[in-house]
Symmetry: C2
Subunit: 423 residues, 2 copies
């Protein structure tokens, strides 16, 4: 042992916890003025599985959204992307079991009709209803299940944690558990909440948003403030998750801001903005980590930190190359501290660096310094592999830029799940 | 069924077979003036496995080579890349079991010493001996096994097929079988041969060359001609293979041209050049397909053809996105004609196209036209999945550029093989 010190990963400054926020119950309903429900509407064959989620603000309110950049974007993405431009919305309806993607004009018509069904049940303008779908690509989605399911969902709407939880359940596909998070804290003398849920397990390498996420806050955000804090949070959270490098056709992330906490409108540049933005970021980070940890078939959450990159783009490219490497991911599944695969993944992606300057830590242990092997205690490594989280840190020695990406291991269960998903 | 015609994939014009070449025996020894051997030298724990290959030209001759672009390139790559610049070589020595990568100055010294050991046994200039290694990254390679193994390998050198075959065996790692190919044909009234072997099964997305390939011809190529025809062949063959998107640290491809067939030196621009280039391309294509078919854990060779791309780069990007998609690869393993995953993979990679113009065929059957589902006979698809080869063809409707990439499915065995490779 040559007594090398582990690499130091920079920590976020002014995180939500530093600003006095604490985690709380309630998910997407933690924010005052938000109700939600999740019901079984027949999109899935299994009548015991909830498959229709509805999230409704008590009144039309500020809403920001981001969407997939996949060229094969789904019909609901096309509809919601257009409608979100207004910065105002009342509700979002989400179904699982069918993605309504690659469905052409008929799919667009269904997406519009589903919003109309919700609008008529809520008594609001259809333009204020957003839509999202997740599931199989290429199959037509019928409006029938919306006709029967939406009245049930409206009836079940609740401002309590149970409503939020049922909504989170209803959007699950191969997720093994619902993913919710909420925080509360003081901003300008008033208590505000930020919460939400997300679904996502496979076809996960979000680009501008994750599979499906609905966030809400009772802070009185301006449309511009909601939009910019959502974009910033998504860029550093959902967009830093990769389960299998496959960007979905349906990624959508919505942020409702009801303003029910009261107080003056919050705009960019204020201290209040920074506080709410930190809370939004906290919730997004938590949900993003959860997506990676619940990646299809995964046994480990893997955190990849790239330090010492020449610039942000290089840091991101190297982090993604490592996080998407099947060889790295299977080595972790096999509890194999095979840092050579990390080095090879970093080296393959076109980012310039000098291998003699590269340091790598696995599981908090220095395993490579100056591009060379550092002898490790294999028994100690096997013990460390018992943790649910695996940390990979690489320092390229080229500059000051750094990034973090979350992924998971590649396992037999991933192959099983995706080898017979549709048939 | 709406009677759609399958997409038409452009075929190569003036292929080697069109020019009268036929496959023959002999692998890398098919070319006159080439000898090879493969022995057990102790690089591997299993004394029954050959792990040292030696390929020797009767005299120093024209030699071209291409290497990995991985920044973490191995010591033998650094040595051979420098030496290959002369355009002349006598021999290449290859070992399996240890990649001599991420081994610093000590690794470079070992690579140079191994060449000296070979040079002294053959009685040639060490500068004319090239080196290549494959195996685990990050471990020091000892010269000891070269000291004992090289004399055995020199003693075993043979001009016959058996020597070539033993060399092909000695470079195998997780390959399930040796990969050799050779052709012969008439060029300018003389019979010339092109042959070679390759190893590669995992960490395969070559960038400038494949894992390890040694090719030879008895055609009298100029150094410039050998270099340019090798580059062209590699670009369309080995560089179009991806098993797992992981570019190796050790990729090396060598072409020896002994000139033993006689006749005038062949330079670029001549008819003879085109004929030999077609033969080199044929051998590279065959070996490249073989790498994909023998990808770690694979049950299927998958051919991805992208048609109608706006340009070559777009075609390549889309083809790689599809070929590297874990969701596409697991669907094939599961015999699931899930074209939505092909569409999503094409859409995620940033290449612009209009989803309403996209056509997709799976296994020769139209499954998507104009971005929409074409009903298929599931029983017929399951029957077609019995073949060893799976064809994916996508037309982006954006232009005339097209490309083909080879890959394989992603299976439980890939996870098993890579989950416990090192430990």
């Amino acid at each position: 042992m040559q007594g090398f010190e582990p690499l130091t990963v920079p920590s976020e400054k002014n995180g939500a916890l530093d600003l006095g926020f604490v985690e709380c119950e309630g998910g997407v309903c933690a924010a005052a003025g938000m109700a939600a429900s999740g019901v079984s509407a027949g999109f899935r064959k299994n009548p015991n599985r909830r498959d229709l989620a509805l999230v409704v603000a008590d009144q039309a309110c500020t809403c920001a959204a981001t969407f997939t950049q996949n060229r094969f974007c789904a019909a609901p993405v096309q509809v919601s992307r257009e409608r979100a431009k207004s910065g105002v919305a009342r509700a979002v309806v989400l179904n699982s079991g069918n993605a309504n993607a690659a469905t052409g004009e008929a799919g667009l018509k269904t997406a519009l009709e589903s919003a109309e069904i919700v609008a008529s049940a809520l008594g609001c303008d259809p333009e204020q209803v957003l839509v999202a779908s997740t599931g199989v690509i290429g199959l037509q989605l019928s409006t029938e299940h919306f006709l029967t399911g939406v009245p049930l969902a409206v009836h079940a709407l609740a401002h309590e944690a149970e409503g939020a939880h049922n909504a989170a359940l209803a959007v699950m596909t191969t997720d093994t558990h619902p993913k919710e998070c909420a925080v509360q804290g003081q901003v300008g003398g008033r208590t505000i909440h930020v919460g939400g849920f997300v679904k996502g397990s496979g076809m996960i390498q979000p680009n501008m948003a994750t599979m499906l996420a609905v966030l809400s806050t009772d802070a009185p955000l301006s449309a511009q403030a909601a939009h910019s804090m959502l974009l910033a949070a998504v860029r550093h959270s959902f967009n830093k998750v990769t389960v299998d490098s496959d960007t979905s056709t349906n990624d959508s992330c919505f942020l409702f801001a009801t303003g029910a906490a009261g107080g003056e409108e919050i705009c960019e540049g204020s201290q209040a903005y920074e506080a709410v933005a930190a809370a939004v970021r906290y919730v997004c980070d938590d949900l993003a980590r959860n997506i990676a940890a619940d990646g299809e078939g995964s046994t480990k959450l893997v955190t990849v930190d790239v330090l010492g990159a020449a610039n942000d783009q290089d840091a991101d490219t190297v982090a993604r190359a490592i996080a998407n490497s099947p060889l790295v991911k299977t080595a972790i599944f096999g509890h194999d501290a095979n840092w050579g695969r990390v080095a090879a993944a970093a080296g393959k992606c076109g980012v310039p660096f000098d291998q003699q300057q590269v340091d790598i830590d696995l599981l908090g242990v220095p395993v490579c310094r100056g591009g060379l092997d550092v002898p490790m205690d294999e028994q100690d490594m096997l013990r460390r592999f018992q943790d649910d989280e695996v940390s990979i840190v690489i320092n390229l020695g080229m500059g000051q830029a750094h990034t973090r990406i979350w992924t998971c291991d590649l396992t037999h269960d991933y192959v099983t799940i995706n080898g017979d998903y549709r048939t």
